[in-house]
């Protein structure tokens, strides 16, 4: 079958003129669609969904709304417009022209970065594939599917770079991206958080808030890359990532809003009574938050990493907002303060800044996530309730880095194994919590109606009313 790729794959990379690349993608596309049929959102292939499709990077091109069946979604390839004068902004090559082709000596590292980033995209689609069956409204169902198709597009973005710049190795990696499976013990996804289940919508909202925000920070760091095609690709991906974090932040906020509303209506504060009224009690939300926060900050890697130093010095991956940092952008003689365990105490110590770049990105991330949690607290405050949410200490429940295997409470106290065992039910979601949340999950498909545990959004998508038919079942 001949596919007109210039029609089928919207792009701004002159796909039609690069026959070799076109052939490579011709080969990969059926495999992608096969993966989508098998691992994409369950039971959704015939729905008409009111989706945003990017058809160009121009102002009016990247947010085109209309009803689409997901397997027919036009997954495009877009790079932000480049500048011939762009220079590498950091590391040993600082001030030299940005690379348009992969420098041989950095080839392996770049491929590794692309594969690690690319692997998260299909992984999250796999993690979320059953959620459509329990969506609390058509509005939320549509938002889930929007997130899913855009994760698919981000996979395309990475596969394009692999195909375009890495020859046979790249093609093999692109195929492997469709072969690994989230949670499969034999062939798992690369990063831990992407093998966790996303069993319910509270998990989904916290995942999109916390874990997609990790995506934002990784993409921001890659948007600084000296490898120009990667920088331009990730800059465009960031505009889409914003929607995913919106789904998370507003989703959690609406859950909290509904809980507070029911608590006020009935004049109750007791979590058990809130549950009895069919809403998710605030302490349970806090435990879910603790889990997703701690699992996500593991994604930034070890607190001291020579790989991270290499990626930086070689100009492959910058810091968050590299251009706004007021320093030499080389960091050879700089220090950075990281936490270490000294006996039963946590204390700061200074290490070379280059080695601490993962920690630095993690700290930037934490600052950004705290902002949204404060906005959730505003919802509780507005309802006149005393409860407040908070992010746990960054040493809490870590599996990677200095604190792997160390028991630290959410407040940052090093505790014994026994103390941990007695406290963990207060700190992390229990099986009972998960069962309760799962018991609330039921599908609501009438336009404008919402499940009882979540408030409607303040406004609809693309200025459409909240009761718009965002999904039509066929």
């Amino acid at each position: 079958m001949n596919i007109d790729y210039s029609q089928k794959i919207p792009n701004n990379v002159n796909l039609a003129e690069d026959k070799a690349l076109q052939r490579a993608l011709e080969h990969w596309q059926p495999a992608f669609l096969g993966w989508w049929q098998e691992m994409g959102p369950e039971g959704s292939h015939h729905h008409d969904i009111y989706l945003r499709t990017a058809v160009s990077v121009e102002r009016d091109g990247w947010a085109q709304f209309g009803y689409v069946k997901m397997p027919e979604y036009r997954w495009g390839i877009f790079l932000n417009p480049g500048s011939a004068e762009r220079q590498i902004g950091f590391g040993d090559h600082k001030g030299r022209p940005a690379w348009q082709e992969v420098p041989g000596e950095h080839r392996a590292n770049l491929r590794r970065i692309l594969v690690a980033q690319g692997d998260t995209e299909p992984a999250s689609v796999e993690q979320q594939r059953h959620l459509g069956l329990t969506a609390p409204s058509l509005y939320d169902l549509r938002n889930l599917f929007q997130v899913n198709v855009e994760e698919g597009r981000h996979l395309w973005a990475m596969v394009y770079l692999l195909h375009r710049h890495f020859g046979r190795d790249g093609r093999e990696e692109a195929e492997a991206l469709l072969e690994r499976r989230s949670g499969d013990p034999d062939n798992p996804r690369i990063l831990g958080a992407f093998n966790e289940r996303t069993p319910d919508w509270l998990s989904f909202f916290l995942f999109t808030y916390f874990t997609d925000r990790d995506g934002k920070f990784q993409l921001c760091a890659l948007a600084e890359s000296g490898f120009d095609p990667l920088a331009r690709t990730t800059q465009f991906m960031l505009t889409e990532e914003a929607h995913h974090m919106f789904v998370g932040e507003s989703g959690v906020s609406r859950v909290i809003q509904r809980t507070c509303q029911v608590m006020k209506e009935h004049g109750i504060e007791d979590p058990a009574r809130a549950r009895a009224l069919g809403v998710i009690d605030l302490p349970t939300i806090q435990r879910y938050l603790n889990f997703h926060f701690s699992v996500t900050i593991d994604l930034f890697g070890s607190d001291q990493s020579s790989n991270a130093a290499t990626f930086y010095s070689t100009g492959l991956k910058g810091r968050y907002e590299e251009g706004k940092q007021d320093d030499d952008h080389v960091l050879k003689d700089r220090g950075y303060r990281v936490l270490e365990l000294a006996g039963s105490e946590l204390r700061e110590k200074e290490v070379p800044a280059l080695l601490a770049l993962n920690e630095r990105l993690r700290d930037d991330y934490i600052r950004d996530s705290v902002g949204g949690v404060e906005r959730w607290n505003k919802v509780i405050e507005k309802a006149g309730l005393a409860f407040r949410l908070s992010v746990p200490h960054k040493a809490f429940n870590r599996k990677i880095g200095t604190f792997a295997g160390v028991h630290v409470s959410p407040e940052g106290q090093v505790v014994s194994a026994a103390q941990w065992a007695s406290g963990v039910a207060e700190w992390l979601p229990t099986d009972e919590d998960r069962r309760f949340v799962a018991s609330l999950m039921g599908r609501v498909v009438e336009p404008g109606r919402f499940a009882g545990w979540i408030a409607p959004p303040a406004i609809g998508i693309n200025r459409q009313p909240v009761d718009f038919a965002y999904v039509r079942f066929n």
């Binding site: 990532e241 902002g371 609809g460 459409q464 009313p465």
Partner: protein
């Protein structure tokens, strides 16, 4: 004379000189930075707390609106131009402030596009002004875009002759059992169904109501519009008006989504003895017909006051309501029709007729009980105000003082498009 305030200065004083300020709702915003990254003029900035728009830099291009994932970007507040919300104020917000009560009877949360259209329409008088003191209290924004009212087309016929170039129609909408109270001079918004090329819902279009408050057919909960089928833009290039063509093509029994009503200042006086001086062209006749019809239905009450109308069109065939107008008794309304394209006659515009009726016009302009209304294309506005100035000068009256006085007393109302 050089120190006397010009009409526009006085208008600004009277109106407080309002502008629409672009703001971001901090409660809905998720600080994703897409707006700041998109803004072509760097009007958007942020701190650790909020994203904010610099009033002095923002040019209202709306490039930031489609990339915003939340809709937080799409917020607008009417402010006094000299006192917009500063960046520091915006950075300190947890919630967006409510719209301040700037207009005498401002109400409701108006859709941004309605505010923008209103700002354009009332620019000639320097923004919204207060209504006449004896105006009835209007209902506004009862039906927002999220919850439009549904009306049924009860009538749709062509007002202009077969030979006329313009297709202007009289369209009657019936609201059934849905309350839709309006006053003469108010507008309603029509929401055409479907989407534009970018997949967004169509913009609302505003139409002046052409019937009096008790309906085209009294007490049957209906109203009339005067709609010109738009086939060219202001510069004469071919352009198909989405809403006007949608309305003109409706058959009796079809339904239409209606939002509004809108308008809190372009309202008629109601006190006995009040006079009305009306100047209009084309479909600008709609509010004039509404006011005239209100007065006609109350003729038997002998409330007094004069009605004087200057009405311009290309030819009698193109003049909406020409037939009915001609049947109105002279003692009820003083009708002056100006035709600019009548074969065998020199081109005549409304301002020419104002000049020829100078003494009567000035008498009304100076009468504290007379209220003046202009409605039509932007192009007529300057010509009419110049004609007022000229006839005043002839009669030894200083228009540069009288004009601002009219505005201060809410006696001059301009709506042009």
């Amino acid at each position: 004379m050089g120190d006397a305030p010009s009409l526009s200065d006085a208008a600004r004083m009277a109106s407080g000189d309002y502008a629409v300020q672009h703001l971001i709702d901090p409660e809905i915003c998720i600080r994703c930075n897409t707006c700041e990254a998109t803004c072509p003029v760097k009007a958007i900035t942020h701190d650790a707390r909020n994203y904010v728009v610099d009033f002095r830099v923002c040019n209202g291009c709306n490039a930031c609106v489609p990339p915003c994932p939340t809709g937080a970007i799409d917020n607008w507040r009417q402010v006094a131009k000299a006192m917009p919300f500063t960046l520091d104020e915006q950075l300190s917000w947890d919630t967006l402030p409510a719209q301040a009560e700037l207009e005498v009877t401002a109400g409701g949360d108006f859709p941004a596009e309605v505010r923008a259209l209103t700002e354009i329409a009332t620019a000639g008088q320097g923004g919204a002004v207060a209504p006449p003191w004896s105006a009835a209290h209007p209902y506004v924004n009862l039906y927002p875009i999220a919850k439009p009212a549904l009306a049924t087309v009860a009538g749709n016929f062509r007002l202009t002759g077969d030979q006329a170039s313009a297709d202007i129609r009289h369209i009657v909408l019936d609201f059934g059992s849905t309350a839709f109270p309006v006053l003469e001079g108010q507008s309603i918004g029509i929401v055409p169904p479907g989407q534009d090329a970018a997949g967004r819902a169509h913009h609302v279009r505003l139409y002046s109501i052409a019937s009096p408050r008790d309906g085209e057919r009294p007490r049957y909960n209906n109203l009339a519009l005067t709609v010109k089928r738009v086939t060219t833009d202001h510069d004469g290039r071919p352009a198909r008006g989405v809403a006007s063509n949608f309305l003109c093509d409706r058959a009796i029994g079809d339904t239409v989504q209606v939002v509004g009503p809108y308008g809190t200042s372009y309202l008629m006086p109601n006190h006995p003895g009040s006079s009305i001086l009306m100047v209009c062209t084309g479909t600008g006749s709609a509010p004039m017909r509404a006011m005239t019809e209100r007065r006609r239905r109350r003729m038997a009450l002998r409330e007094g006051g004069t009605l004087m109308l200057f009405f311009g069109a290309r030819s009698p065939e193109e003049l909406p309501y020409f037939g009915p107008l001609m049947k109105l008794p002279r003692e009820f309304i003083d009708v002056n029709l100006a035709f600019s394209r009548q074969p065998g006659h020199p081109k005549t515009y409304v301002q020419d007729l104002i000049r020829s009726r100078g003494a009567d016009v000035v008498r009304l302009l100076r009468d504290g009980n007379c209220y003046v209304y202009l409605c039509g294309l932007k192009g007529m506005e300057a010509g009419v105000l110049e004609a007022f100035a000229a006839v005043c000068a002839e009669q030894g009256v200083d228009w540069s003082a009288l004009g601002p006085e009219l505005l201060r007393q809410s006696r001059l109302h301009i709506e042009t498009y």
